[in-house]
């Protein structure tokens, strides 16, 4: 069985702390069914006082428009709190989808986790 079929509907979200910043490491596939899981994780972080979230999408292989809704919704909420959603490591289909929908310009997107972590 191909690895892609093993995680066909799964979304995995791990949480890491780098200095003072929370980094969410998202992998698998994000669609209508599981995008709310991502929003819930972000809401938990926001409830703890995080206003800037770094999200590593290096392991995300698929995102539908319902996943994009979640990214936009979280980014809007963080911005209203004076913070930001900082995405990094997009590749393949996910990067293509962000480019086509103009989200590369509207969201903060970085090449690496290191460059996504706010300095100062």
């Amino acid at each position: 069985m191909q690895p892609q079929q093993n995680d066909k509907s799964a979304l995995n979200i791990e949480r890491a702390q780098v200095y003072d910043h929370v980094v969410l490491i998202v992998s698998g596939r994000m669609d209508a069914e599981n995008a709310p899981q991502f929003e819930e994780k972000c809401n938990v972080c926001m409830a703890e006082g995080c206003t800037t979230l770094v999200v590593d999408l290096g392991g995300l292989t698929y995102v539908s428009s319902m996943g994009l809704r979640s990214f936009l919704s979280v980014a809007k909420t963080l911005q209203s709190k004076g913070g930001a959603l900082r995405l990094c490591c997009l590749k393949g289909l996910v990067k293509q989808v962000f480019e086509i929908t103009g989200l590369m310009q509207v969201l903060s997107v970085y090449e690496s986790v290191e460059s996504a972590i706010p300095r100062g």
Partner: protein
């Protein structure tokens, strides 16, 4: 759930939980057409967006219904897929294109799905046919 080998069509309840089965079904067609891996991800996305649209716009609220997905391989390296439902008339090709340049504050969170469909499909047609919405897309191995 019924699968007809000759016509290569699948009829299934139009709901989010059916997406996995429809995706698997259409991937068979993608493999028959020898589409490369990169295209198969795009086919997954087209199916996902179209089924999601049907669940939201064609069968609203507590009006459940079925979706019939039919694929064919008109030529090597080419896949044609029709997605049909008997819900309210809805032509997604007539939807207002999203403004992709507006700022984060001004950006609506929806409206991107059909834009993705229009971009990834090599061809895309809609027709209303005796109570059916019939949307057909083509995708090919070559860019």
């Amino acid at each position: 759930l019924s699968v007809s080998g000759a016509s290569r069509s699948l009829t299934i309840a139009a709901k989010a939980e059916s997406l996995g089965a429809v995706t698997e079904f259409v991937r068979k067609g993608a493999r028959e057409a020898s589409l490369p891996e990169e295209r198969i991800g795009q086919v997954d996305l087209l199916i996902d967006e179209l089924i999601t649209n049907i669940c939201i716009h064609a069968y609203r609220g507590d009006m459940p219904g079925d979706v019939t997905v039919t694929y064919s391989v008109p030529a090597p390296g080419e896949l044609s897929v029709e997605v049909a439902d008997q819900g309210a008339e809805f032509n997604p090709l007539k939807a207002e294109p999203p403004d992709l340049t507006s700022s984060l504050e001004a950006r609506p969170i929806g409206g991107l799905g059909i834009h993705l469909v229009k971009t990834f499909a090599a061809s895309l047609t809609y027709r209303r046919d005796q109570g059916w919405n019939r949307l057909t897309f083509g995708i090919s191995a070559s860019p």
